[in-house]
Symmetry: C2
Subunit: 443 residues, 2 copies
């Protein structure tokens, strides 16, 4: 490949909805996906929710000619569900597991069981090094009363931290996946403004797909209206994001999505629509020397920094709200556990009375005694497990909040380097409608 020619890179991203025996037409859809990928020959294919390794191996075999390089990100019992197929050699991969991912007892939501993570693969595209990320964040089940908001914000925080810290050596960065966030949601703003990643949908001049770029649509037969209510036209939660560096430029020539159906097929590939982005990479020959500071916080103008402070502060507030909830839940678990223990103690005392007053009759029928004891033990076991679980949740939320406090402190210090008469200094107020969290002095 000539050094000066722009490198075209076609990136594909799809949430495959691949829960064996539960997702509808799972195996037929994998056959369709495999056929399509074989035919389309994208350069980089990023898949999510490939929960079964068998399905991954099926695709691997099917795509062995078109996509010789591939990696399945293993994690937890079920796996991360993340897979990457590439025409280009994958030099290295790394998986980062998010510290929070819902609650095990919300089994009907199921997110906790899949080890949500972000996978990274280092590829050589011509003479450029690309860090390609694929991820899938916790789903949003109820937008009005979103009990997973803090978890998703922490995931978005960890995602931007991971990308920012691992991409300094890359010429270009590409992220594809199901973020489960609307374009202007807090986590999404956090991700984009901290990393400088640009959204293929808003960046491209040529878009072919559903109105507004939505990827969860009412026209998809696997989607119930309830899932996307009140957004009748659907919601945009799947993304291809990208950014260049001082050593390479990247732009999106076109973006297309599927539209809820596949020609000559009775059903679509998945419940999500698939994204295909045509990117163009240009290496900058006269890259400036030394470290690429701008790469880390893309536009370090005072205005942008102040906006970033706003967003991180908003995220911190959400994490604090989540922390408060988790602490309350842990307290409830502890209280219930103590009540279970008291009940067990009471039972033992009552049962022990006849032992001491030898003449008295045993007041407990034996079966009731065993059943009550079993109930007490069940309560103790459950509340102990919940207590441990909430403790882990609290630690993770505290950890994220600590990191955010450090980040705000560091951003504030950078801001102090700018003339104080900037109009943007006013934007240090906290987001509307929220109690302004005190910015503690950084430790």
């Amino acid at each position: 490949m000539a050094n000066m020619d722009p490198i075209p890179v076609r990136v594909f991203s799809l949430n495959c909805w691949g829960i064996r025996y539960l997702s509808k037409y799972c195996s037929q859809r994998y056959h369709m996906i495999g056929d399509m990928l074989c035919k389309e020959k994208h350069d980089i294919v990023l898949l999510q929710e490939v929960w079964s390794e068998k399905d991954y191996l099926f695709l691997k075999k099917k795509l062995s000619c078109t996509h010789p390089y591939t990696h399945y990100f293993k994690s937890g019992v079920i796996g991360s569900g993340l897979a990457i197929f590439s025409k280009y050699r994958i030099h290295d991969t790394l998986l980062y597991r998010y510290s929070l991912n819902g609650y095990p007892y919300m089994a009907h939501h199921g997110d906790w069981f899949g080890g949500k993570a972000v996978g990274m693969a280092v590829l050589s595209l011509g003479n450029l090094t690309a860090n390609v990320y694929v991820t899938h964040l916790h789903a949003e089940y109820n937008r009005e009363k979103d009990s997973y908001l803090a978890h998703r914000v922490v995931q978005a925080w960890e995602l931007q931290q991971f990308i920012r810290h691992t991409s300094a050596g890359a010429d270009v960065v590409i992220l594809g996946g199901d973020l489960n966030m609307h374009p202007q949601d807090l986590g999404n703003r956090l991700l984009r403004s901290y990393t400088g990643l640009r959204d293929a949908y808003t960046e491209t001049a040529k878009f072919d797909g559903c109105e507004g770029g939505v990827t969860l649509i009412a026209d998809n037969p696997f989607i119930s209206k309830k899932e996307i209510f009140p957004f009748e036209k659907g919601i945009r939660i799947d993304y291809v994001l990208f950014k260049g560096s001082s050593r390479a430029e990247i732009r999106c020539d076109s973006l297309s999505t599927t539209k809820g159906s596949v020609a000559d097929s009775p059903f679509p590939y998945s419940d999500h629509e698939a994204l295909t982005a045509e990117l163009k990479l240009d290496s900058c020959v006269s890259a400036e020397a030394g470290k690429d500071e701008a790469f880390k916080t893309p536009d370090s103008s005072a205005g942008n920094l102040a906006e970033l402070v706003d967003i991180v502060t908003e995220a911190r507030t959400e994490v604090k709200v989540g922390l408060h909830c988790a602490e309350r839940m842990r307290y409830t678990a502890a209280r219930t556990g103590v009540m279970g223990l008291a009940l067990l103690f009471l039972e033992l005392v009552i049962a022990a009375v006849p032992w001491f007053a030898l003449g008295a009759e045993q007041p407990f029928p034996q079966t009731s005694f065993y059943l009550l004891a079993a109930l007490c033990f069940a309560i103790l076991l459950t509340t102990s497990l919940l207590y441990i679980f909430y403790t882990i949740e609290i630690k993770s939320l505290q950890g994220a909040e600590d990191q955010m406090r450090l980040a705000v402190g560091s951003l504030h210090e950078k801001l102090r380097g700018f003339p104080v008469t900037q109009p943007h200094s006013a934007s240090l107020r906290s987001p509307e409608g929220q109690d302004p969290p005190a910015l503690d002095p950084v430790e």
Copy 2:
């Protein structure tokens, strides 16, 4: 600070052995540690095994004047035990949890309960950016028959991956901690050769400490001879490692360790010896432009690459051995579970007989019936949990092995770029005494 003057950086590392109520003289030792750190005023203090947040907060308060910037890495129920105190502002932190860390049922070893991880902090040292890492790997309890070897190798692998991928934007890298590996152990070689990190002990001209730099010594009253057998003089498992970049040079002027006792005190700071490294940082003015490829694999000569292939292949073999063990254990768990189920089934059948043959007597005394049923349930629960646990272990080992295979493939390709007549091509043989694992063609 003048741009051209070398920046002196004193780094301190100590495994604090801070298990409340279990470690001897825990609170007295924290007082001693706090006093010493206050007096010594190191630039960067890296602590491990600070298991209690209360102890961290005690140190934080005590060091608030000398070390205004600090971070405690929270993770899991107990935490990671990792803490950093710094004279310089910490801009950002990130925690990476290792995917494997021993077995929960080896409660007497306890490693599983502490969330072993590597913590990273981004610091500004003068005009330089330093990525400082602190970590603590799984302990080695029996060198002859080390059942945790695969886990420690995977941890070392993940550690080098994390450092390599997050440090490309840093001018200097400093790692301190308890690696629980001897200097020439596989994981240590893997870490050093892949990241290019240099060992302060071997690099410095001026060393003051125990012979051989050992940090677990027989003279320490908290150490039993058994722990370090057969190494009578002790073992070196705590390290300060460092590397520079094309933008900065780093050297170690001197290294010192404690020697098992503290003047005017009846006992030492910990069961490990403390390390103090005096580093000198020099920014390179005429840094070459563009990306610092050499930063990633420090010396990409054919010889070094071939050595790296050897080491990664050796690590892969160990991981495969671990995988084999884990699969065997999972099989045993499954078999025991099936036996428990069969026993329960048998019991129910025997108990059900009188129901059908109405005249027959109940063959089971009620108490025995309940006890046996409880036993069966306990077997089923335990084996199910073990099965899930081993499945996670297997997935993690497979994940690490997949990454290693990719890495070997990528290294091989780089090697192919060199003239084939290199004498080092012979070093592609596998390490002595081990069955050479076939290098599958990279996916």
